[in-house]
């Protein structure tokens, strides 16, 4: 699916602007990244992948940032590095975030497929494979369950 390539230090105010934060995710998502890529929210298709440089998701703890990307159908995030808080939030929402030191080799508009468990990105239009860090095992089960809420539901349901 299409890769949307962004730069370093993409911040949470750009991903989910504060002035819309009082609304629900359906009203926040249309403003996702509008200050950086005005056409993003309209153009992104389910299954697309967002690729950042260093420190993707810098700034706030607001979970609406990864939630907006997920709401728009983004299937995975790839970056050279993620801001730690954002990284936890993305995985807690079941949105795979994959650290890839070679993320810069993905070009905007490439057709890519991400395997977060194996830690691989396939650039299909150029027939390249990038090796990444797999999502740690203790988190992958939660991501597979669909995030922390679904994971807890399963855990608590089982223990009842």
């Amino acid at each position: 699916m299409r890769a949307w390539v962004l730069g370093d230090n993409v911040d949470t105010d750009a991903i989910a602007p504060g002035r819309y934060m009082k609304r629900g995710i359906a009203e926040i998502a249309p403003h996702c990244l509008e200050a950086l890529v005005p056409e993003f929210a309209r153009g992104v298709q389910p299954g697309d992948v967002v690729v950042g440089g260093r420190n993707f998701g810098a700034g706030s703890s607001r979970e609406q940032a990864p939630a907006a990307l997920k709401h728009l159908g983004v299937a995975a995030l790839v970056a050279e590095s993620f801001a730690g808080l954002f990284y936890r939030n993305a995985l807690n929402l079941g949105l795979p975030a994959v650290v890839c030191t070679e993320a810069r080799r993905v070009h905007d508009g490439d057709v890519v497929r991400v395997d977060p468990e194996a830690g691989r990105i396939y650039i299909e239009n150029r027939n390249q494979t990038l090796e990444c860090e797999p999502i740690p095992a203790h988190l992958m089960q939660m991501v597979r369950d669909g995030g922390l809420l679904a994971h807890l539901e399963k855990r608590l349901g089982r223990s009842r």
């Binding site: 002035r19 703890s61 808080l85 809420l149």
Partner: protein, 414 residues
Amino acid sequence: MPATLAQKLIARAAGRGAVTPGEIVTCKVDLAMIHDSSGPRRLKPMLERLGAKLWDPSKVVLITDHYVPAYDEESRKIIRITRDWVRETGIDNFHDEQGICHVVLPERGHLRPGMFAVGGDSHSPTGGAFAAYMFGIGATEMLGVLVTGEIWLKVPHTIAMEFDGAFAPGVSAKDAMLFLIGRFGLDGGQYQAVEYRGAAIRALPMQERMTLCNMAAELGAQTGLIASDGVTQAFLQSKNLETWDSDDGASLLAHHRFHGDELAPQVAAPHSPANTRPVTDFKEVKPQLAYIGACTGAKLEDLRMAARVLKGRKSAIRLLVAPASLRDQNAAKNEGTLQILLEAGAELLPNGCGICAGYGEHLLPENMVAISSTARNFRGRMGAASSQVYLASPYTVAASAAAGRICDPRELLQ
């Protein structure tokens, strides 16, 4: 094995004798702080879906600061949900419209050295100034804490930032942080623990130490830490607190040393806190608005800094002051600090996150150039995408307000 302060705090919370950087551990949470934005309106539906209850309401502190005062129907609804939830859950530690959570939490005595705490806000590392391991998490992760009382953590390495000597008059913790963020970048903290040390740090009052740990967030650290000492005890009005500090010889990821005496006032240009240069590089910039606000920049100590500069002067531009807590505002009033600011022409805004977080009624209009004592100047954060925010210390914001251009506060303090 000698251990860092971070390792000791985490080992205690994990019920372990020692922990090693890089290993993943599960910690018992001593305190969970939540606010109105990431709090009940998000948590309540998730708790109901799980059919779960709070693991320990006595360990939860809830503070309204983002949507207060509620100025529209959406904000009123969020505050209503928050207050109803307090009644339903039986939380005793509820501070309603008392100021910003990171400032209210220690001022009401909830933090103690040695604690392991989480907060539903990215500036939660502020609590690290009290030698507590405190960091920010999102709403869903907070749900996990509220249900289980636990959270996983990758034991961080420690990066020591040491300032020897003493900061010059007119130079503050904010300048130290802008300098460090400019030097090491928004990811310089590598999501590890940053520990501030040295004579210049030891000499700082508690709220200045809080500013250092607060902006560990902009440095990209998981938390910022400062060992506890007599200053910590005096602020908490509590003697016989345990002292928590790193051991000599504990292994560090990096140890950076700076001369406190050489630090000049710093300014971060739009649109990143890492766009930092000495204040003298910005003399041509003429802001139209000066803002003293937020957990980073409007505590009692911050208001005092602004007043030291503005005493007997008038602001040449619009000056907005939003004291970080009601208690700090009252203290500033009683000691005369607030009067100095008001006589300089300051307009007083409510005690909340306000403009800093893009909330409330006073957002920056199109093309506005502002100088602000807050922590973040990302594009559009404080208002219109075309607005431009310069970050500086309360000293520098006040001096710039008086001069009508970005001004070195040392010129006015002489």
